[in-house]
C-alpha cells in the first residue's frame, strides 16, 4: 500500500490482479447486476488509489477492500429500498437436515446457487465470505460492521438454511423422476 500511496502504478496493477476477481464475485453476488458490479469494483479500486496513503494497516488490505465494497453495496440497497443488510429474515427452527441428501444435492451446482439465493443478504454475505473467501470471523465482522458473535450466529444459521434447502432440492428432484 505504501508503494501505491507513492503513485506506483505497477503495485496498484498487482493488487488489482490479485483482488479484482474475488471482489467482483462478492459484489456481483450481492447485486446480481453485471454493470453495476463492475462500477462498484471500479469505484473501490479508484478509492484505493486515492486513499492508499490513509491505509493504516490495522486490518488486512483484503478486508479493507471488501469492507469498502460492502458499504457501497449497502448504499445501493438503501437507495433502491431493497432489504437492508442488517435486517435478518426470521429463522425457522434449526432442525438438522439429512446429511446424505445434502451431499448428493451439493453435486448439483445449480442447486447450491439456488439455495444460496434463498438466503437473506446478511446470511448470504456471512457464509460466502466464510466459505468462498475463507475469511475469519473477525474479518467478516469488520467487513459487515456487526459484532463477531453476530457473524458466528449468521454463518451457523445460513449453513443450516442452506443444508435444509439442499436436502429439499434432492427430494424435489427425486419426485420429478
Amino acid at each position: 500500500m505504501k508503494r501505491i500511496a507513492s503513485g506506483d502504478r505497477g503495485a496498484f496493477a498487482q493488487l488489482y490482479r490479485e483482488m479484482e476477481s474475488p471482489l467482483y464475485r462478492f459484489v456481483s453476488s450481492r447485486l446480481n447486476d453485471q454493470q453495476r458490479s463492475s462500477d462498484i469494483t471500479h469505484d473501490v479500486f479508484l478509492q484505493v488509489w486515492r486513499d492508499a496513503g490513509a491505509f493504516e494497516g490495522r486490518s488486512k488490505v483484503r478486508t479493507w477492500l471488501f469492507a469498502m465494497a460492502y458499504r457501497k453495496v449497502v448504499d445501493v440497497y438503501r437507495r433502491e429500498n431493497r432489504l437492508v443488510f442488517g435486517e435478518d429474515v426470521p429463522e425457522s427452527a434449526d432442525e438438522s437436515p439429512n446429511p446424505e441428501a445434502c451431499v448428493l444435492a451439493m453435486e448439483n451446482r445449480d442447486a447450491v446457487r439456488q439455495c444460496l439465493e434463498t438466503l437473506s443478504p446478511s446470511h448470504r454475505a456471512a457464509i460466502e465470505l466464510t466459505f468462498m473467501e475463507d475469511m475469519s470471523y473477525p474479518e467478516v465482522a469488520e467487513i459487515t460492521g456487526v459484532p463477531e458473535g453476530t457473524v458466528k450466529s449468521r454463518v451457523f444459521h445460513a449453513k443450516q438454511l442452506l443444508l435444509r434447502c439442499l436436502s429439499t432440492k434432492l427430494g424435489m428432484k427425486r419426485d420429478d423422476q
Partner: protein, 193 residues
C-alpha cells in the same frame, strides 16, 4: 449433535465453519479440536461443512472485467491526474496574472499618485469589469491598458475580476467590443448595469 457450551461461550458448532476454512486459531481452535475428538457427530458436521465449502467454491464464477477493468481504471487515474495538473496550472497562472496586473497598475498610475488605491473606497469608479486569461503576462496587460487608455481602479477580486476606467468621452461600447475580441488575453468583459 452436542452443543459444548461453557459459561458465556458460544456453542462450538458456531466456530466449526471457521475451523473448516482454516482461520480458527488459539483457544477457539483448541476448543473445537477437543470437541471433534470427543464427539463423532461434531466430526461428521465438520466433514459436511467441508463438502459445502467445496461445493460453494466449485460454483461457476461470474466473468469479471479483469484487464478491461484495469485499463478503465488507469484511464480514469490518468484523467484525474491530468485534471489536477490543469487546476494547478490555472491556479499558478492566476497568481502570475494577478502579480503581473498589480505591477501593471503601479506602472500606469496617474502622475502624482504615489500608491495604488483600492477602488473599494471609491465604488463609483470603474467603467468596465474585465477578467484576464490565467496566462496573461505583465507586458501584455500593460500594452492593453496603455493602448486603450485604460486604468485599473479595482481588483483583482476574489474571482479575478478587475474594474477599469476609460478616458472621459471615450466610446465605452467600442472599447468593450475591442477587448472582447482579444480572446487570447481577455476572458470576459462586462459593462456596468
Amino acid at each position: 449433535m452436542t452443543s459444548n457450551t461453557a459459561g458465556m461461550q458460544e456453542p462450538v458448532e458456531q466456530l466449526l465453519p471457521f475451523l473448516v476454512n482454516g482461520t480458527l486459531a488459539g483457544p477457539d481452535r483448541a476448543r473445537v479440536e477437543k470437541g471433534l475428538r470427543h464427539d463423532p457427530a461434531l466430526a461428521a458436521e465438520a466433514a459436511l461443512l467441508g463438502q459445502l465449502r467445496d461445493a460453494m467454491k466449485a460454483m461457476p464464477q461470474p466473468a469479471s472485467p479483469a484487464e478491461f477493468g484495469l485499463a478503465r481504471l488507469m484511464r480514469d487515474i490518468d484523467r484525474e491526474a491530468s485534471a489536477q495538473r490543469t487546476r494547478r496550472w490555472q491556479l499558478a497562472g492566476g497568481a502570475v496574472a494577478a502579480a503581473a496586473i498589480a505591477l501593471a497598475v503601479m506602472l500606469v498610475l496617474p502622475p502624482g499618485q504615489t500608491e495604488y488605491q483600492q477602488a473599494s473606497g471609491d465604488p463609483g469608479r470603474g467603467d468596465l469589469t474585465v477578467a484576464f486569461v490565467p496566462g496573461a503576462t505583465l507586458a501584455e496587460v500593460t500594452d492593453l491598458l496603455q493602448n486603450n487608455n485604460l486604468e485599473i481602479v479595482d481588483g483583482p477580486s476574489a474571482i479575478g475580476l478587475y474594474r477599469l476606467d476609460v478616458t472621459a468621452g471615450a466610446n465605452l461600447d467600442a472599447i468593450a467590443d475591442k477587448l472582447r475580441a482579444m480572446q487570447s488575453l481577455v476572458e470576459s468583459v462586462s459593462l456596468p448595469e
